[in-house]
């Protein structure tokens, strides 16, 4: 239950975050404006951040507990185990989730606390005094290693969600025989859309579509 | 020591008997019920329903089964349905008609009063099961649906898909679970009853073996109920589950309970035939297939090996249509089974070992189209394909008769108590209601009638006089019975011979199938009676049972059961030999009309044959119970 509810909130967040981030394609003004909007929220932003943090912690706490219980439910493993219907995604929720967690930590250090890259600190604020998120993203993703890691993590996130985005319907009892296959494919499509949406950013930077702009 | 058998059928007109008997039966006051312990062996429809009901009334129940869960009793396998005289179809059904059909179906070899009571309580069974949540098939209006079944001209069979037995059993099992949770039933799964204990001539306990630990345990009680099902597995191959056995009832027989009509077995005509030496089980296919399929074999032996579709019409013998022009392929179970055996005996059988006949849907497919046939029988065709690997839409099915149900069982009176005071027997394990042949969909009815609605009213008749008479398990009779069981187990393990348990079982089964199967005759039966003791002798000198007695040992379990079959088979043959007439499932070749119809001898054999054990190797003693027919007229069955 809690896993499902927190999962939904996280899904909503990633959707919103994606929409925000895609504004990079509209140019620095948009994305920087968006970032500023967020900052302008002031205390509200902190509340949202705090709530998000709680949600993530709850999600992780309960899923980890779940995983431990589930491991305990079968102490002696099969010597040979084949699966008929269980997808790779559904069986690797814990791993994909944990790598996503590692990613989130890195990501926060990277873009929120900006501790990984000394150049970010030197980025000028734009004329309106906004943070230059645009340049930060471009700078960050120009490093193929960073982009590679992002894409990998996004891939795992998509994997996680390709199962999770339909799974929560079942967990909450909002599923039935007719709905199930449709939800399953909708969930998968959703997850991969998300993947392409997000990865388009580092990919675009890498191939040079989105370049650093100098402020005049 | 046993005088004339008293069936304790109450006096009065047939429809009044049961009510009167209930009114005159003794009762046990609620506060006293707690003081009684009752052992119920078996958790099928009969045992499960009895345990749940008696526990609900306030008795303490100890319930036993050999499976790992009470839900797996063999009742689970029944497919077709359960009869009741509800007359929901408005086709003129009534308690009397159900009674009459059952007694006629049994070829007039059952007790009127018992059968009438069965028909009477049939309606309450349906009410009870529906209330438990049994998902019977329904019509669009939300009311219960019915189908028709062999031997009846009305539609009175209730069903739950093809899984009626399963659903009824789960209903009883769930009721049992409720009592287990309430602490009124103590459940002993994976526990086999190996002996009955009598104290002062009363059944007061049993000896069991815990199949997991091998522990031999004594259980004392105020009364013992056996609901251990049928013994069809004496034939080795049957539609019964692997574990079905005669052990519980046979041990009771050896302790003095009478075994009634052991030779009455029902052989079902449409099963999937044997395909190899190691086949372990026969699978039933619904008889409904005969509505559209045509049964045939090649006219000439030489054609038997040919692919069926290469045999031209002119060379086919549609023997049922030839012999029984009016009923044709729908001739009753016993008749069509026997005819199949005849043609195979003539060497015209098809498939491996020549033990099979064709059931052909070609004409039906041509007439109705494959889609219609698929709609009607698709799941059966699928089962057939799963087992045989053959596609019955393309080539005819092969079918053969198989042992299916045993009408015989321990003798019981109207109270369902055997001649041993305190020992009650219910369900397929007793002999009571089906005479020489059981109608489809009436075994489930009988099991539940006994367990829900008869035994709970009749058992107090015995218990009322038994307060405080439960012996301790330290009683010398318990000690003695236990050491006998131990000794026997040890002997079996010690033989250390060369032949496997199954090989003995297979040999016994084949012998009985040949000599005491669909058709029997005196020389054949005598041959079997001579052969079985030799086989038994060899068993005790040359069987090999690996492993130990003190742990889980399936070879040992099987050995014990086969050892009992090896004794029981002889009793069956003796009964078949003594019954010098043909009736129902018992067909003596000496007694038939020129065109092969069974000939009953009501003058001399309108009795129940109840056999008393006289010691190992000694001939058992016959106690006939005359059957009195006050309400029905004995008629000859004819299906020409």
């Amino acid at each position: 239950m809690i896993v499902a509810v927190t999962g939904i909130i996280l899904i909503l967040f990633v959707i919103g975050h994606l929409l925000g981030n895609l504004q990079i394609f509209l140019g620095p003004e948009w994305i920087n404006g968006y970032a500023q909007h967020l900052r302008d929220l002031g205390p509200l932003l902190w509340i949202i951040r705090g709530a998000l943090l709680v949600v993530v912690i709850l999600h992780i706490y309960f899923t980890i507990q779940l995983v431990i219980e589930n491991r305990r439910a079968r102490p002696d493993h099969y010597k040979r185990k084949d699966f008929v219907k269980a997808t790779l995604a559904s069986r690797s929720m814990a791993i994909s989730g944990l790598i996503v967690l590692a990613f989130i930590i890195f990501h926060l250090l990277h873009f929120s606390f900006r501790t990984t890259d000394p150049r970010f600190a030197q980025l000028a604020h734009d004329p309106l005094g906004h943070d230059d998120v645009y340049s930060m993203m471009v700078l960050g993703f120009s490093n193929p290693l960073v982009s590679g890691f992002y894409i990998l993590a996004l891939f795992l996130l998509a994997l996680h969600l390709s199962h999770g985005a339909s799974s929560f319907f079942q967990s909450l009892g909002l599923n039935d025989q007719k709905l199930a296959p449709r939800l399953a494919s909708a969930g998968r499509i959703f997850a991969w859309l998300l993947f392409f949406g997000y990865s388009s950013i580092p990919a675009a930077v890498l191939i040079g579509w989105v370049k650093l702009r100098t402020h005049s | 020591m046993i005088g004339t058998l008293d069936s304790r059928v109450p006096a009065g007109p047939l429809p009044e008997k049961w009510r009167r008997h209930q009114n005159n039966s003794k009762l046990v006051a609620p506060n006293n019920r707690r003081r009684f312990e009752i052992i119920i062996v078996g958790t099928g429809l009969a045992g499960g329903s009895a345990a749940a009901t008696l526990a609900e009334q306030g008795y303490n129940i100890k319930s036993f089964c050999y499976q790992d869960s009470p839900r797996r009793a063999h009742s689970i396998a029944a497919q077709g349905g359960i009869n009741a005289a509800k007359n929901y179809q408005n086709d003129g059904d009534s308690v009397y008609r159900l009674f009459y059909d059952t007694i006629k179906g049994g070829d007039f070899r059952s007790r009127e009063a018992n059968v009438y009571r069965l028909a009477e309580v049939s309606n309450s069974i349906i009410d009870q099961c529906v209330e438990q949540g049994v998902p019977f098939a329904r019509e669009y209006g939300g009311l219960l649906a019915n189908r028709s079944f062999g031997g009846a001209q009305v539609s009175r069979t209730f069903y739950a898909r093809g899984q009626t037995g399963q659903q009824l059993l789960l209903g009883a099992y769930q009721a049992l679970c409720r009592q287990i949770a309430a602490g009124t039933v103590t459940m002993f799964p994976q526990t086999e009853m190996l002996d009955l204990v009598l104290v002062d001539g009363h059944a007061k306990g049993i000896i069991t073996r815990d199949l997991i630990t091998g522990e031999i345990v004594r259980h004392a009680a105020d009364a013992v109920v056996l609901a251990t099902g049928g013994y069809g597995n004496v034939f080795y191959l049957s539609t019964n589950a692997r574990g079905c056995n005669v052990t519980a009832t046979y041990r009771a027989y050896k302790k003095g309970a009478l075994f009634a009509n052991p030779c009455y077995t029902q052989i079902h005509p449409t099963c999937i035939p044997v395909s190899g030496d190691y086949q372990s089980k026969l699978t039933l296919m619904s008889e409904s297939l005969r509505n559209d399929g045509r049964v045939w074999v090649p006219k000439r032996k030489e054609d038997c090996g040919k692919p069926p579709n290469d045999i031209p019409e002119a060379d086919r013998d549609y023997y049922l249509e030839r012999k029984y022009p009016s009923y044709g392929n729908l001739a009753p179970r016993d008749i069509s089974s026997r005819s199949a055996k005849e043609v195979c005996d003539e060497g015209r059988g098809v498939g491996p070992g020549g033990r099979g006949v064709y059931l052909d849907f070609k004409d039906a497919i041509a007439r109705l189209g494959e889609a219609t046939i698929r709609e009607r029988y698709g799941n059966l065709f699928d089962i057939y394909e799963k087992i045989t690997g053959d596609n019955a839409y393309k080539a005819p099915m092969r079918i053969y008769p198989a042992v299916h149900y045993t009408m015989g069982g321990l003798w019981v009176d109207y109270n369902l108590m055997s001649n041993v005071p305190g020992l009650h027997v219910i369900g397929e394990a007793n002999f009571s209601d089906h005479g020489a042949n059981r109608l489809g969909a009436s075994a489930l009815m009988q099991g539940l009638a006994d367990g829900y609605f008869v035994l709970p009213y009749t058992l107090p008749n015995y218990l009322a006089g038994q307060i405080g008479k439960r012996p301790s398990t330290d009683h010398p009779e318990f000690v003695k019975a236990e050491s006998e069981v131990r000794e026997r187990t040890k002997r079996m393990l010690d033989v250390d011979g060369k032949r496997s348990v199954d090989s003995f079982h297979r040999e016994l089964g084949l012998l009985l199938w040949d000599k005491c199967g669909m058709a029997r005759n005196a020389p054949g039966l005598q041959e079997a009676i001579a052969r079985i003791p030799q086989l038994r002798e060899e068993f005790w000198n040359n069987v090999t049972v690996p492993g130990y007695g003190e742990n889980f040992n399936q070879s040992l379990e099987r050995a014990g059961r086969v050892a009992d079959f090896l004794e029981f088979g002889e009793l069956m043959c003796r009964d078949a030999l003594a019954r010098d007439e043909s009736c129902g499932g018992h067909f003596r070749q000496e007694h038939q009309t020129p065109d092969g119809e069974a000939v009953r001898d009501d003058e001399n054999f309108a009795d129940v044959f109840a056999w008393e054990y006289q010691g190992d190797g000694a001939e058992p003693k016959l106690h006939p119970e005359p059957l009195v027919f006050e309400s029905v007229h004995l008629a000859t069955r004819s299906y020409k």
Binding site: S90 | E131, T544
Partner: protein, 251 residues
């Protein structure tokens, strides 16, 4: 046909077990899988070795006794079917076949391939019934049940209690089994009075037995010989959510 077999041998609950290799030859394709094991056991017995313990009873897919994991799949490669409905023609001649018991903490091993599934019985004992005293039932046709509901209830009720769902589930969860019983009774009018109490008690018993949690991998449905649908798990989740909400609100 010839086969190489790898069979799990384990003396008792607390002993250590391992896969042991066997070879068997001359098997006809029409032999059932369990009959193949019978033949192996006859041969082992003839050699004075203890035969392989495995459970079965009806051998036609209805009693739920057989419980083999064959080549990593509960009940073997042919679905939907119980292990007793599997025939050797499904395998390639010369194939290696691995046979293990159903594995879950709640299904302790009795011996070799035989397990103890009493946990499933205890889940039913916790509430998987309608309390209907014998003889007190109203006339059967006094409560009509819409046909589609009766049919759906039958679909759920078809569960044979084999435990393959828990054996196949990556988390050893018995949700499919439990949800089948809960749904069966929740769909029928007779099951209504105890509906909430039933789901709460059965789910809690299921957890207490040490089964894992469902993470919706649907492997159970794939191996279920009775084709029980995972939509019943969704139904159970819903029933449980409503019932526990009701419980919190002090109903």
């Amino acid at each position: 046909m010839n086969f190489k077999l790898k069979i799990w041998r384990q003396l008792g609950r607390d002993s250590k077990g391992k896969l042991k290799p066997y070879e068997i030859s001359g098997i006809s394709p029409a032999t059932s899988f369990l009959e193949m094991l019978d033949i192996l056991n006859e041969q082992l017995t003839a050699h004075g070795t203890e035969p392989v313990a495995f459970d079965s009873d009806c051998r036609e897919g209805i009693c739920g006794t057989c419980s083999l994991t064959i080549n990593g799949e509960a009940h073997g490669p042919s679905h939907p079917a119980a292990a007793c409905q599997l025939y050797m023609r499904e395998f390639k001649d010369g194939a290696t076949i691995t046979i293990e018991p159903f594995r879950a903490r709640s299904f302790p091993i009795v011996k070799d391939l035989v397990i103890n599934r009493s946990a499933l019985d205890r889940i039913v004992q916790a509430g998987g019934f309608v309390s209907a005293r014998t003889g007190s039932a109203p006339e059967a046709n006094s409560t009509p049940v819409p046909k589609h509901k009766a049919d759906l209830a039958m679909e759920a009720a078809a569960c044979i209690g084999c435990g393959a769902c828990a054996a196949a589930c990556p988390n050893a969860s018995a949700m499919l089994f439990t949800s089948a019983k809960i749904s069966h009774l929740a769909l029928l009018p007779q099951g209504q009075p105890e509906r909430r109490r039933r789901v709460l008690r059965m789910v809690r018993q299921m957890d207490a037995e040490g089964f894992g949690n469902c993470t919706n991998t649907y492997e159970c449905e794939a191996v279920c010989p009775a084709e029980i649908s995972v939509s019943f798990i969704a139904k159970m989740n819903r029933e449980y959510a409503i019932a526990s909400l009701g419980e919190r609100l002090g109903e």
